[in-house]
Structures are given as C-alpha cells and as structure tokens.
Symmetry: C2
Subunit: 415 residues, 2 copies
C-alpha cells in the first residue's frame, strides 16, 4: 500500500546512457533480473554506499573500481545479494566485471557490479554470465520503464524520475538552449525489508557536463539531503548504493565549481531527483499507511537536530500512534526528551503538526483542539515540526508509520 | 501474555518498612491507587531516575528531596503521571509532600513523591490529599502483595521479590545470626507503554545496615546491571524511578565499603532482587511472546558492547523475526554491522543462539542446521550470544519480540 507514489510512464532519454535488460532466471523465471547501463566514454560517475560495516561483495568491488575512475558499465542483478558469501562472493562479483569487460572491450575496473536479493547464497554465475550478451544486445536509450521494474525486489511499485531542465543563470532567469539538460533515474527499496531481500539502490543520470571533483561533492551532499535522511525502521542494508552519472553529452560548458552561475539551478534540479527517488522508497515502505516528515528546527547543531529527528522517526510509540491516527503529543515529546541532547529545556520546546501548534513551551498548547490534531493525523502525509529553541540549525528526515502489515510482512516472510 | 512471570504470594517483612494503601479514585473508582511507604528513622535511601531530559514534576521533587537525605516516606499514586503539567504540577507534587509531612510530623523534604498514569492532566489534588489519612491509617509491615497491585497501571501482573539472606563472609561460607537480612521489593511497568500510561517504578527495601555512600554507589551499579539494561521498545518514560532503601534495622554491624568481607554476598543478594524486578518488566512487555537476552562478548569497550546489544535489541527486523520464530541470522548480523562500531571485521564475528553456533567467522556456520535454530527460536526464552573478536568486554541487555499485539496495544489505546 504505497503512499502517494505514482508510476512514471515517460522518461527523457539521457544522451550517453543506454540500458539493456534480460531475464537470467537468477531466482525466478520469466522476470527481468539483469540490467546493464552503458555509459558513454567521458562519463563522470560518483557514488555513495552503505555505512553498514559488513558491506556485500559487489559493494566492495564497486567502491574499488569507482576510485579508479573512467566507469563505462553498471551491471545489476536482482534475486541474489551476493552478501555473506565470503571470498567466493568477491571472486564472483569480480568475474561478472571481467566477463562483461571482455564482451564490451573495456577494462574490468571500468565496470561497477550491484546485487540485491537473498543473502548467504552463492550467486548463480552460469545464469548471470550466460545472459550478459542478451542484455548487451538489448541496449537502447529508451528502456527506463522496464529498468525501473527490472531492479525491483519486494517493491510494490517501480520508482522513477525524469525531467528536462534549463540551467538558468542565477539572477537572470534566462537560459540559452545549450544549457538544457536531461535528468532521469530509478530507485528500488521498501525500507530495509530484510537482509534476505534488502537493499536500497538508486541510479541517477544526467547528460550535464560536470567536473568529476564537483560531481563527487554534489553526490555526497545530495545523498545527505535525501537517501541519508529517509528511514523506515532504522535498519540499513549491506548492499545500499546510490550512483550519480554525468555523461557530459549535453551541449554546454563544463560546470566545475559551486561558483558557476548555473550551479544553483543544477543543484536544485538534481536535488529534486534525489528527493523524489528517496521519498519513493519511504512511500513504498513495508506496511506504510503514512508518509511522515520530521522537521527539527532551532537546533544548536546538525548532530543534535538529527539525533532528535531520528529518535522521533524510530520511536515505535510515535510510529504506532501515527498508524492509529492518534495525535499523541506526549509520545513525540518523550522521544525528543530521550534523544540524548545535553541541557535540553522542556519549556523551550514547541511542536506543530503541519501548521497546528500542539505543544507550546513544553506543554499542551492552550489553543490546541483534539479535533485539529486528529484531522491532521488522519491525512496520508503529515509533517511534524519540532522547535528546540536552542539555535538556528534545521534538519529533516522522512519516515513511515508502524502498522500491523509491517509486522506481518517481516514476521511472515519465511513462513 | 507475560513470559515466565510468576506472581509472588508471600513476602518477608522488612524491619523498618510499613506500607499503607488506599483508594483515592484518581482515575478509576474501587481500585487501590495510593501507596505510602513509611521508613524507620535512620533509614538510608538512594535512587536512580529517568535520563529523559523532560522528567516529570514528582521526579524533580524526589531528586531534590533525596539530595537532602533523611527520607521517611514515599508517596505513590497511579492514574495520573503529573507530567507535562508545568509549574502547577511542580506545586502539586510539593503540596503532596507538605500535607503528608503535616500529618506525619516530619519535614516536607523527608518525603519522596511518585506518580504514574496519564500525562498532561492536572493531578486531582483534592482526591489525593483527602485520602492520605486513610493510607496512613492502613500502615502495616505486611501489605506487600497489595502494594505490588496498587502501583500497577497497564501491567498484566504484579511484580515482586522477597528473600531472606545470610550474609556469608567471603571465603568462609559462614554467617552468624546477626547477618541475616530481609530483602523485599516491587516494580511496575510493561515497557514504555506510552506517556499516557507509562513509567517504570521500582522500590527495593532491605533491613541491612549499609552506609549511605556505599548504598549510593551500589544503587547506581545495581541499576546499571538491571533496570538500565532492559528495553522493550527503546522508549524511556518521563517518570522512571528506582529507589533502594536500607532501613538499618537488622542486627548487624554496618557495611561501609566494598572491602567488607560481607559485601560480595550483600551485592549478590541485591543484584538478584534488581535482576528479578527489572526482568519482570520485560516479561510483561506489551505483546511480548519472548524473553530475549542479548549477550555481547569480546568487545573492545563497554560502549561498543552496549551499542551492538541495543542495536540488535531495538531492530524491528530482529524483533519481528523473534516473534515469527524465524532464526534469521542475516537480520542479526546486519544489525551488528550498523551499530556504528569502528573497524568492525565481519570475519571475526560469531553468533550463537543459546549454545548453537549459527554464524562462524561472519558467515553461516557449516555445522548449523535450520532445525536447530528453529527449535531455539520456538522457545519462550532465548539467548543471542554475539562475539565480536575485538577484546574481552561483555555486556548484556534483555528485551522482547515485536508482535501484532504490540501494535494493537499501542495503536488502539486511545481509540
């Protein structure tokens, strides 16, 4: 039951990106489970990966290859995560790259491998390797819809984003035709459903011409504002990966620094893509009936703002109250109080549900009426605004409620 | 559905402790909701309180009075937490002490107030104050069974502990008759059910003669090994309090330091009381079908051991797997990996379910058979042993599973 998630039917092709899809039968027959991205020579590629100390074999290989630069292919399989597979798993991830490199006449280190699916089982290499030629044969610039479906595991809906954007120059609102760029991307994940069928994956591409160092810093900053701010249950997978590609095929001068007058428009456009694709994962979170923004304001530091936001977002009591449409301000306030922020003063805390003040100076707001809170908690999309009265730092995270279906999905999976 | 929780029918009176109970009708009629402990002159009292930054009015007053020493009465009401009640709440908590002090001819600061129940509503002072004489009139040394029931809120069962203990001298196994002490105590709580009906309260008493400074350090150490190591859902209440009383009425020489040859036996006896009363809260956790010990060994520090233990204990994926009796080692391993421990090496991790090795060197143990794990996960009591291979520090925490009933209890409460 995805919350406010629409399926994208039309994508803008991104000059320099071709996608080929095939059925390898890795876990299920008659299902697209192998996706190859071909990137034009000269593409710049950046990525962020799981912070889980135990990252899967393909993540280890992808990080290493990415550091060497000049990436030309991404190869993604679903049905098997190649995680918890030891030295053989590492050899398998490398072999996928070696074989694809042989077929495409590039070097193995120019290929990034990704896997998602069951952990602890060996990757069926025969099936995977024998299907590479078929996926390569299918390469086209217009396979985004099928690709979004091809990387799904327990997702209930495919997740995509596509926009054509004019990079206006700051202060002018003008853009020459050379500054038109395409941005298209896909993501998968429904929370850390389980290590058996886990992983958030995201592939964002643009034909914009962005210098590699700037792309790297942008990718990290964009992920920190999006994929690193969404949480369903606090669990993070061993395979999480987010890749940003700039093929440099658009007809424009290179953007190499944040001082470039087009930078603000570029950042804003990419942030929109990152935001939509990361929120889609929350909207499709297991058992989700609500899409919830936790917005912490007036913090003294980023860390304390995030500590408060995540403590509220992960509180089972807050999450069950959201599921029950019960505007229980005591649960929110108690979660704020246990976030571990030093010298927090109750009397300085205000809490708003959307724009309705529910807590004022640490107590129930005199103006608050139960009906107003209930009306907001009945909505599918809710913003909880928490003002700490300590400074001027703001952070926000996005999450879901905790429903009976969450327990069912996660408790009944292997039964 | 409490897990392995037995109701205690007989308590040993503790010399110097009388308990009086009455019905004040604070929230419900015909229910004991006011409990007074009378402590003999010369009693030493220590306590630990919630770390939630927003502690309730009675906690603020109790902390202040406790610091002044010479405590003679504890007054506990259920039905109303006097939390989130601002300056009036503080005045009400103080007034309870003042009135009780007037009736008993002690000073107001010799009284510790405690409240548990609904938050955000004013304490019905008329009802509370007018019932104090009745509770005082009922004072007796044999009201423990009724007291354990009188402090319950959403608990399904009363929680008590009582033992007579001979303080043997280390190395001798001998105890003179003077070294016999009584320990009796009660606790309440079923996890942080909700701020509306929250709070873990515990009152442990002994007639042992223990010097105040030693009692203070023991109380903290004992709570750290028990009440501060149990968690149902990670939420902590605004009213949590744990009080340790030593009335000094036993016929024995004072124990004033850990070097006393009787100290080990005293500590061990009190630890048993703290352990049983804290575990009782987990066993009665909302919707609990399992009592789970998370035991982390071979850590490099206490902090990292606790980080791993709590990350596993709070993981909704691990908790739903426990509910489903699914020995899903991948979920446990992934939780270990995201605990934020620096430079953790997957290949050094071993995990045992009770004494069955399920993960060896970071992968599924070759000897592991699914039936063996399933048999253990079918038990009502399970120990998950996690060995990090980094050092020689161990820590353990106790928790429950996450069941449909947890969601129901917490989502349906106000509906």
């Amino acid at each position: 039951m995805a919350v406010g998630l629409e399926v994208l039917k039309h994508y803008h092709p991104v000059n320099g990106v071709n996608i080929g899809i095939a059925q390898a039968g890795i876990k299920y027959e008659n299902r697209n489970d192998l996706v190859i991205f071909e990137l034009a020579e000269g593409s710049r590629v950046s990525g962020v990966f799981t912070l889980n100390a135990f990252c899967a074999a393909p993540v280890q290989v992808a990080k290493k290859h990415l550091a060497e630069g000049n990436i030309r292919y991404l190869v993604i399989n679903t049905g098997n995560a190649n995680a918890g597979t030891g030295p053989q798993g590492l050899a398998d991830a490398l072999e996928s790259c070696t074989q694809l490199a042989y077929l495409t006449k590039v070097q193995a280190q120019q290929i990034l491998p990704f896997s998602t699916g069951v952990i602890g089982e060996p990757l069926p290499m025969d099936k995977l390797l024998s299907t590479l030629p078929k996926a390569l044969g299918a390469l086209t610039d217009n396979a985004w819809v099928t690709a979004a479906e091809g990387i799904m595991t327990t997702d209930t809906l495919p997740k995509g984003y596509s926009q054509q954007v004019a990079l206006t120059t700051a202060g002018t609102e003008q853009a020459s035709s050379q500054d038109m760029i395409n941005i298209s991307g896909i993501s998968k994940g429904a929370g850390m459903i389980m290590p058996n069928m886990a992983t958030m994956l995201a592939y964002l591409t643009t034909d914009a011409v962005i210098a590699q160092p700037l792309l790297d810093s942008m990718c990290k900053e964009l992920a920190d504002k999006s994929f690193n701010r969404v949480t369903v249950d606090g669990d993070t997978s061993t395979n999480d990966s987010c890749i940003l590609v700039a093929t440099a095929k658009a007809d424009m001068e290179e953007i190499s620094s944040a001082q470039d007058p087009r930078y603000a428009a570029l950042f804003s456009a990419l942030l929109d893509a990152f935001t939509v694709l990361s929120h889609a994962i929350v909207r499709d979170g297991e058992g989700a009936t609500k899409f919830v923004t936790i917005n912490v304001e007036q913090a003294a530091s980023v860390q304390e703002a995030l500590d408060v936001a995540y403590t509220v977002a992960h509180s089972p009591l807050v999450k069950t109250a959201l599921f029950a449409c019960d505007a229980n301000w005591g649960r929110i306030l108690a979660a704020v109080g246990r976030a571990g922020v030093k010298d927090m003063v109750l009397e300085n805390i205000d809490i708003y549900l959307d724009d309705v003040c529910i807590v004022k100076n640490g107590g129930r707001a005199a103006s608050y009426r139960e009906e107003a809170g209930a009306a907001i908690f009945a909505q599918a999309e809710i913003t909880i605004n928490i003002r700490l009265g300590r400074g001027d730092i703001s952070e926000r995270v996005w999450t879901t409620d905790l429903s009976h279906d969450y327990v069912s999905i996660n408790a009944d999976y292997r039964s």
